[in-house]
């Protein structure tokens, strides 16, 4: 009796201790230690690059050195701007630390700076996000420290007076605080930050452009860009990836005013960490919002090769103000996921009777309707035929040859009093059946356009040509189904 009680007590004690151990030792299952160990210097990167993921399994003391510098750089081709920067570029350097790290932050203001600067990191818990402690005169350095309590992707920016001006001139960047368990592995990571510039000159006006306070207050930018200038991530500077790779974009929006509707043309975001937090709060997203002074993380796999366009889907910003980037994916096609162009057909509009033939299959001589119909003889039927011809003309021919048959000067030849038309009925029928390409002289004027082959059947062609021959002072000829059929056969034989 006694030994068994003893055993029970001992075993329950062991269970209790191990349970306590598991509870009190956070992350012990992953070998994570919450003890701050060691010192390291943060490696910072310029956009669009992101520092390597952090592999250590404990927080550390991280020393960050960041320099504020005022520089003249390209804003667009032929357009320069005085940028105020964190690290010499817009956006500022990308900082990557881990949850629980103790960061010693050294802000160096370059001696040639005209302005004092400071830094407000949204990742900092404390007054001003560090702004108070980092206010730095030109030629000086400020140091302050903080602990990264909250993981996530955060904006940092300058908050010196006048704050709007410092941000408008380019003083922002991103700091990623990795959660202690790290982020899921991906093949490639990029850093893309949207922002606006307010210049005195309009978009594209060349020269060194001064800041326009009025436009900034009106929130009417002349430029909306990714990574600090028009074309910063297009052409040779595009983001690149290979098919099958998993991509993570660390997205920021420096503002100062606009919210971004971030979209990649031809991609769907598999996962979105909304507003740059640590929770994947949505899957399969087309367009995600990035608040001014906020962020978002998106992940997706690139399945097919091609160029994928990054835009702010407030679309005039993309095509008229510069908010456009490129992701170039190389690798093997997958025609099941995306076929590329399989066919290019002429389309005459959905009301068009002949198009139904498209779905029924190609017209062949044998199938040509109308061959079993008798010739139209009565006046009544001729009236009907004329109305039928007119309706075909209106829907099929008038777009180019115009309702009055005059055509368009230098582009589409006239049918009205056309010497070409009236001279040779067979040529006219042939052109309607097979189309026509190349130079043609009509009433002494040269034209060089393309007339697509029609999908009209014999009866329709006969009707429309008869209509045309009896309008606008033309020769008044009549075209029969048999004549059309004959020309069609000839052509058919010719091909054979």
């Amino acid at each position: 009796m006694k030994p068994s009680i003893k055993l029970t007590i001992i075993s329950s004690f062991v269970v209790l201790i191990s349970a306590l151990f598991i509870f009190l030792y956070p992350g012990c299952d992953k070998g994570y230690s919450s003890q701050v160990q060691g010192v390291e210097r943060a490696k910072l990167t310029s956009a669009p690059y992101v520092p390597q993921p952090i592999t250590r399994n404990h927080p550390t003391k991280v020393i960050v050195d960041l320099e504020t510098k005022e520089v003249v750089k390209r804003l667009a081709d032929g357009v320069e701007y005085v940028f105020w920067t964190f690290g010499g570029d817009v956006p500022g350097k990308f900082i990557r630390v881990k949850e629980g790290d103790e960061v010693e932050f050294n802000l160096h203001n370059h001696p040639t700076s005209k302005m004092p600067h400071n830094i407000d990191l949204h990742a900092v818990t404390g007054p001003g996000g560090g702004a108070v402690s980092s206010f730095t005169a030109p030629g000086h350095t400020s140091t302050f420290s903080f602990k990264t309590l909250n993981p996530g992707l955060y904006v940092y920016h300058c908050a010196s007076a006048p704050v709007g001006l410092h941000i408008a001139n380019g003083m922002y960047g991103l700091i990623l605080v990795e959660p202690k368990e790290g982020l899921p592995p991906v093949d490639r990571e990029f850093y893309v930050m949207q922002s606006e510039f307010y210049t005195e000159g309009t978009y594209g006006e060349t020269g060194l452009q001064p800041f326009s306070q009025n436009n900034a207050v009106d929130e009417n930018p002349s430029y909306v860009v990714f990574n600090g200038s028009v074309g910063a991530i297009t052409g040779d500077k595009s983001l690149t990836a290979k098919t099958g790779e998993k991509i993570r974009l660390n997205l920021g929006n420096g503002g100062p005013n606009l919210i971004s509707s971030f979209h990649i043309i031809g991609e769907v975001f598999d996962k979105v960490y909304g507003e740059g937090g640590t929770l994947v709060n949505q899957k399969n997203v087309q367009t995600t919002l990035i608040p001014a002074g906020g962020s978002a993380i998106v992940e997706f796999t690139v399945d097919v090769p091609g160029t994928f366009i990054l835009v702010d889907h407030s679309i005039f910003r993309a095509f008229n103000k510069g908010a456009l980037g490129m992701l170039k994916v190389s690798g093997k096609d997958d025609s099941v996921i995306y076929s590329g162009k399989q066919k290019d057909d002429i389309y005459f509009g959905s009301n068009e009777e002949p198009n139904q033939d498209l779905f029924a299959g190609p017209i062949t001589v044998e199938q040509t309707p109308g061959s079993n119909q008798t010739a139209v003889n009565t006046e009544e039927k001729e009236m009907d035929l004329s109305a039928f011809g007119k309706s075909i003309y209106t829907t099929t021919c008038a777009a180019c040859h115009q309702a009055n048959g005059e055509g368009l000067p230098n582009v589409f030849p006239p049918l009205a009093k056309s010497d070409f038309l009236n001279k040779n009925k067979e040529a006219a029928i042939n052109n309607v059946i097979n189309g026509r390409q190349g130079e043609i002289t009509v009433n002494g004027k040269k034209y060089n356009s393309i007339m697509p082959p029609s999908n009209l059947n014999d009866k329709q062609i006969a009707a429309v040509l008869t209509y045309v021959y009896n309008q606008w002072g033309n020769s008044g000829k009549k075209v029969t189904e048999e004549e059309v059929q004959k020309v069609r056969k000839k052509k058919n034989l010719g091909v054979k």
């Binding site: 005022e70 005209k114 004092p116 108070v132 206010f135 005169a137 704050v163």
Partner: protein, 260 residues
């Protein structure tokens, strides 16, 4: 922060007392009007940029102001006569490590430095000592702002603030003359003022509108008299980032003098 602020506030008071005694004795013996490099600024009103309990317009009595900022050549004479203000002798608490850093040596400007360009990389202490040596003083913020306020074209001032500092600062008198006959008030350098630290903004400029912070006039734009005057914001911001021993690439000074 508070400690250093109260220090900052205290220092000028002591200095001012000493200065007043010194200045008074010298000023009575000198007539600035005979000095062609100063002009008489008529009295007028200056409206502080920031609202506070006493946000009335401030009267500026008539005073003399240097037509040009103090040049390297002039400052060289000063350090020749006052060895303790030479580069190698100056105490760190009066001028930081970049004091006169572009000068070749204690008493040589070197080929890179134009003697007619304004002296920069000088501390507030050094500027004040120079002014006293000349029988003058530094202008107050109110006086300085009153003089620049005669320029109504804010954009013109903004334009300088939004340009980079050139490596070599042009000579004095190379930029515009204002209606008072004073040159280079903007578009050449920043300038020390006597009480540069009395209208402080904090590093957290966005919180400075808080009325509890009587220490500051506040920089939150909602409390500003003139939200449109970005250059003024920049000057206040700039001054606030300074301490009296700081020296900077594009920060110099000019002197003022009481009318009688």
């Amino acid at each position: 922060m508070k400690n250093c602020l109260s220090q900052k506030r205290f220092l000028p008071l002591v200095e001012m007392t000493i200065c007043l005694i010194v200045c008074f004795s010298i000023i009575t013996n000198l007539n600035a009007q005979t000095n062609p490099k100063m002009v008489l600024i008529p009295s007028g009103y200056y409206e502080p940029l920031f609202k506070n309990d006493s946000s009335e317009k401030e009267k500026v009595e008539k005073f003399y102001l240097d037509v040009y900022p103090v040049t390297n050549g002039e400052f060289l004479e000063f350090v020749k006569a006052n060895p303790k203000w030479r580069k190698s002798n100056v105490k760190k608490i009066f001028a930081d490590g970049s004091y006169l850093r572009n000068w070749k040596s204690d008493l040589e400007l070197g080929d890179e430095i134009n003697p007619n360009s304004p002296v920069t990389n000088v501390s507030w202490f050094a500027a004040k000592a120079y002014a006293e040596w000349k029988g003058k003083r530094l202008p107050s913020v109110a006086e300085w702002e009153y003089v620049i306020s005669s320029e109504k074209n804010i954009q013109k001032i903004s334009d300088w603030y939004s340009k980079l500092s050139p490596d070599k600062i042009p000579p004095v008198g190379s930029t515009e003359k204002n209606t008072f006959g004073v040159y280079d008030m903007y578009s050449l350098i920043w300038e020390w003022t006597y009480d540069f630290n009395t209208s402080l903004v904090t590093g957290e400029s966005r919180g400075d509108g808080d009325l509890e912070r009587n220490l500051f006039c506040g920089n939150s734009s909602s409390n500003s008299k003139d939200v449109e005057n970005y250059p003024a914001f920049m000057r206040y911001g700039y001054r606030s980032s300074l301490q009296a021993n700081y020296t900077t690439h594009n920060l110099g000074f000019r002197c003022a003098k009481d009318y009688n």
